[in-house]
Subunit: 506 residues, 2 copies
Amino acid sequence: MSRRNSRRRAPTPDQVIKPKAQQLFNPYAPIEVLSADDLDLIHDGSMRILEEIGLEVLNEKALGLYENDGARVDWDLQRVYLDRESLMTRLQTVPSTFILHARNSDRNRSIGGNTINFTTVASAPNSSDLEGGRRTGNFADYCNFMRLTQSFDIIDFVSGYPVEPIDIAPETRHLDATLAALTLTDRAFSCYCLGGGRVNDGIEMTAIARGVDRETLKNEPSIITVVNTNSPLRVDGPMLDGLMEMAQNGQPTIVTPFTLSGAMCPITIAGALAQQNAEALGVIALSQIVNPGAPMVYGGFTSNADMRSGAPAFGTPEYTKAALASGQLARRYNLPFRSSNTNASNCVDAQAAWESQMSLWGAVMGHANVIKHAAGWLEGGLCASFEKFIIDIDMLQMMAETLKPIEVSESTLALEAIREAGHGGHFFGTAHTLANYTTAFYEPLVSDWSNFETWAENGEKTAYQRANEVYRKYLKDYEEPENDPQIKISLEKYVVERRKELEGQQ
Amino acid sequence: MSRRNSRRRAPTPDQVIKPKAQQLFNPYAPIEVLSADDLDLIHDGSMRILEEIGLEVLNEKALGLYENDGARVDWDLQRVYLDRESLMTRLQTVPSTFILHARNSDRNRSIGGNTINFTTVASAPNSSDLEGGRRTGNFADYCNFMRLTQSFDIIDFVSGYPVEPIDIAPETRHLDATLAALTLTDRAFSCYCLGGGRVNDGIEMTAIARGVDRETLKNEPSIITVVNTNSPLRVDGPMLDGLMEMAQNGQPTIVTPFTLSGAMCPITIAGALAQQNAEALGVIALSQIVNPGAPMVYGGFTSNADMRSGAPAFGTPEYTKAALASGQLARRYNLPFRSSNTNASNCVDAQAAWESQMSLWGAVMGHANVIKHAAGWLEGGLCASFEKFIIDIDMLQMMAETLKPIEVSESTLALEAIREAGHGGHFFGTAHTLANYTTAFYEPLVSDWSNFETWAENGEKTAYQRANEVYRKYLKDYEEPENDPQIKISLEKYVVERRKELEGQQ
């Protein structure tokens, strides 16, 4: 599944060029956990929240825009009250599908409808692997996650820093992080949605990397960001500055309320979803006031707190149902939908896998278009694990295979092979098997299917240990994607100049 | 979720009696991976297999019954050719749903429609736990698996020996195994479908345990068995003796072809499914010739071989799709459907969990009515693991919670709680949270949601180690279910007498 060999710098004509990485689609109907009536009730609840309780918006410019658009604003309390008719009208301009462009056009991705896009873990403050254990996030690990990302086709784009490179000064960190992402991978990247300045740097560097001007970029979404609300019902000021800058420039923002049931929203999933819906739609509306038609994504992250400790839990039954229901809500408004691959385990064990699987099935069968944190997330997002990254790649690739419909034809029904094998015979040697055995089945990265004796002889390695070997091998075999030398120089020049400016401001 | 305290022998009137263990239903629509046309093509392929290639049936009585029923039989080759019209007519008498009765009527279970029943791992030759490692199956471990089964409501019945008690003489093993199952648990049990004699002992002991006569039992299915075909297209003689005995007595048989794609059936999933369908339907037809209306279950077990080693793989994308498609096939014929919770890992690691989850989602969303091997299966079925048993219980309970629809009402939308918490506030102390926090969320057995520091202080335990502690605790707390002393004596007497007869035959 790796493209490592597909972008060599000087391919000779007789070299086999691998086909373009495919856009993944979900051909199956979504799982619907809410009846049409219950979906309406949740919608109605969320509209009452926006009409009666309102959103606290800590940004004067945004408050003014909401007010100009006809919303009632309480300036003392910084609250916006949105009525449902105006809100529904505002949402109609959000594109139901858009293309996120990458500097390598093979990596352009469609977000909306039945498409699925997997993106790496984002914003973990720590990283870990078997040899080095858990450590504070750093730039070396950051770059290695970028290299691994580049090694697997199943990762569609990068929706955040896999791990926070805390060894780089915070004022200029985004410059180094963006430069690394735009040269170590050929995928679309993201920016932190914190203030207009950082967003502007992200947009500028993306335009350079793609070799297009900013006007072109306005019509070709190429960088993505995330706004989390400060649930309940509060929206941060600098994040909204970022969102408005992104919308103005035609770039997409994923709006994801952090609705942890029992802590930041009601303890019932219905209440959590109503609040999530109110927050997401209320903020998405602002983007359309700024720039009708700006691409946006509805984010669902509702999970539940461990009521004994208050800690967030992930990949729970409540989480899975909320993901499936969130997909129904997003589809109700024709909005692209984002979910995640989460777990709360502190190590790469069975719990990490089953909670991830619960999350993934919720996301995939909820028809999420962006599945964030799809590879590498551990500890409820507090750690990016290299081994979990590889195990997730295996799980994502398995999911992609599961989404390929069974091919049914005279050839695949294979009655001749059944005749040839004979009653009580076997199929290893039939012509049909020999013609198909190299491509018939998904070949895993980590799963060990040897028998117990062979497995024991080989050192009784767990999936965690095997994933460590796989990650080491892929890092070793990493090949940098094609980088236009002029573009690389321009990017580096931009970083040097902006660094000077930003350091001067300190 | 345990019923351990619910069946004390002398409950006082003021003791709280826990509600009956619930029959689990799947309220969501199944995932359909085959179009109606492709489903027809697979059906047609399987009919051509039965019409043109035929089933090899190594049982003269069965061959005679097929022939009397109008099928073409080649006696030299021991082959039966079934035409589709007669076959479809024969299948019409199979009940689409039936009740499997247990000696404790709270454990009666419905098999068919949207019901789900989880049953323990069956027929593993080895067992393992953290302290004792892997060992040959033995009666002590067998009994401990029975005790654990009794400890969890989520296990609906026992569909085979969790581990083979190899330290008991094979001729009389079924007597000891059945006695233990019928006294250590209060659930329906099973018998090996090998020859009429063993089946008859199973039926006799089940009638004693339920305190009913055999005539009553004929109308009240109370014991279940499995017939595996010797794929491709061969059916074993003694197994068919058992099936005919079961059908004659109104007891259900699950017919499960062992269609390992690339080895015992075509390397394409479509071909594997066509062959599975031919084998399952061809054998199910025999039961209806013997006794029209005998309850039967369509088993799907199609997976793929590792084409490098020939070893069976489980929980693969191909496996999951085959499970979902098998559900569509079973529903096409209105037959109850059986799938499994499988994995090929050699230890209780992440692989064991993700392969199990892939299997479980395939089974649950394929609307399997019996999910066999649901708890404890490891190593592709070669080992019954105590820790995996507990982890599976957690995963099954999570699945059951996921299948409970989100309750949407004015109360669960909780707008008052949202008002009370206020913008940027929290919900830990709201009246709504305090009224609901003890029951709002699924409480896991094994998942550890503590933060990294707490987890590290507590010994950095993996899910495997924690599951070991849980299994030890539940075994220690085990309480034997209510056993009528007279019935227990009758069962023991039956075993003593039959043991004498069988030992005399040696």
